[in-house]
């Protein structure tokens, strides 16, 4: 088993989800491909990219986005467009609103439904929906996620906790409504209907979000990898992500990746040596497993380039 896979242990759970987080441009897609290509030796691996720039298509020489594409043995790839998925979701909701509130069209207010696509939380909901389905998937042993921009990713990861809080309150009110309905009907001797579609829906939603929350906070079901560069802003974002994981999910990253580390002579030439040294020292002092990938003169542009990175990776802190 490769040392990269060793660094991710425990990797139980079927599927085991690996989320690669980090600031835009730090190398999340390259890291995701590298990790996926290692994991495929253990079982069917799906790499899903939410990267809005769709770099993965270029790396894997795919002409257009597809649902799921087999790249090589046990290695499958899917490029998702979060905006397209958000549009699909909102058009479904728009149809529902037009159906439930026909008076909107009488009053020429159908435009309200068009504004739905700007409703807060839709992109996060698309990601969460997808994540929830991913944990239920039986087709893959590993699912590696090249995450959308950090803001969307982190907000999505807090949603199950937040939704559960709201759902508990709504369930309390709804249970009281249903019990009152039952008592009134029973007292008046009329027919008693115990089932309530809204309460059933609320229970289903609670079950769904509880499962996602449980899976996200369970290190044997979910691994977080945070990628950074030896620059102040990516490093700042790495600290923020670690803090977020600790405070919101009571977990920590399985692996930290310091990517694009300049060789000493080039860093001196560019006047970036002292800054890079200080950042790497801080990186090395962080708890947990970590690796370092040097800057390569020709940035990876295809799968083979990324796979070659395996030979230059150095383990800073191992198992």
């Amino acid at each position: 088993m490769s040392y990269l896979v060793e660094l991710l242990k425990p990797i139980e759970g079927n599927p085991h989800v690996i989320m690669v987080l980090g600031k835009g441009g730090v190398g999340k897609t390259s890291t995701s491909i590298l990790i996926s290509s290692e994991l495929r030796s253990l079982g069917k691996t799906l790499l899903v990219s939410f990267d809005p720039a769709k770099h993965i298509l270029k790396y894997l020489s795919i002409s257009k986005p597809a649902d799921v594409l087999e790249v090589s043995d046990n290695f499958f790839v899917s490029q998702l467009d979060i905006e397209v998925s958000a549009r699909e979701l909102t058009s479904r909701y728009s149809g529902l609103i037009s159906d439930l509130f026909p008076s909107l069209s009488v009053l020429n207010l159908e435009d309200i439904t068009k504004a739905l696509k700007y409703a807060p939380g839709v992109e996060e909901e698309v990601f969460l929906n997808w994540l929830s389905d991913a944990y239920e998937s039986k087709n893959f042993r590993f699912i590696v996620i090249d995450t959308p921009p950090t803001g969307i990713s982190l907000r999505t990861l807090t949603l199950p906790k937040l939704y559960l809080l709201w759902l508990e309150k709504l369930i309390n009110i709804r249970e009281r409504i249903v019990s009152l309905r039952y008592v009134i009907a029973k007292t008046l001797g009329s027919e008693v209907k115990v089932s309530d579609p809204a309460l059933t829906k609320l229970y289903k939603m609670r079950e769904r979000y509880s499962k996602v929350k449980e899976a996200l906070t369970n290190p044997s079901r979910t691994s977080f990898i945070v990628v950074t560069n030896p620059e102040p802003l990516p490093m700042y974002e790495l600290r923020e992500v670690i803090k977020f994981l600790d405070e919101e999910l009571s977990t920590s990253p399985k692996l930290l990746v310091m990517n694009k580390v300049l060789p000493k002579d080039i860093a001196i030439e560019l006047g970036a040596y002292e800054e890079q040294k200080a950042i790497i020292e801080e990186f090395m002092s962080l708890p947990g497993r970590s690796i370092m990938i040097p800057y390569v003169s020709n940035p990876p542009s295809k799968l083979e380039d990324i796979l070659r990175l395996r030979d230059v990776v150095s383990v800073v802190k191992g198992v």
Binding site: L167, L170, I177, I184, T187, K201
Partner: protein
């Protein structure tokens, strides 16, 4: 004598039944009031995000809409009746007017 006693007893039983019925009706009215208030609160919370009042995530509201189809129909019909407040009040009191 026996007839008179039987009559008084029947009256007493009817009186007790009447009191019991009044208590039941009062209790049901109180329960109905609580039920209606809670239903209104529930719909306000769920529909709030769709009209700009952030009571919970709009996505949760949208997910719940389908299950609230009947309540929304009632809400819409009440909104239409709301234009004639007096008629609505008379209707809510029941009986023939």
């Amino acid at each position: 004598m026996f007839k008179a006693f039987k009559k008084i007893l029947r009256e007493f039983v009817n009186f007790v039944k009447g009191v019991n019925q009044a208590i039941v009706e009062d209790s049901v009215s109180a329960l109905e009031l609580e039920h209606n208030e809670l239903e209104a609160a529930f719909l306000t919370i769920v529909l709030g995000p769709l009209v700009g009042v952030t009571t919970l995530s709009p996505v949760l509201s949208l997910e719940l809409l389908e299950a609230l189809r009947n309540e929304i129909k009632i809400l819409e019909s009440r909104a239409v009746r709301g234009e004639d407040v007096l008629a609505d009040l008379m209707a809510s009191l029941g009986g023939e007017w």
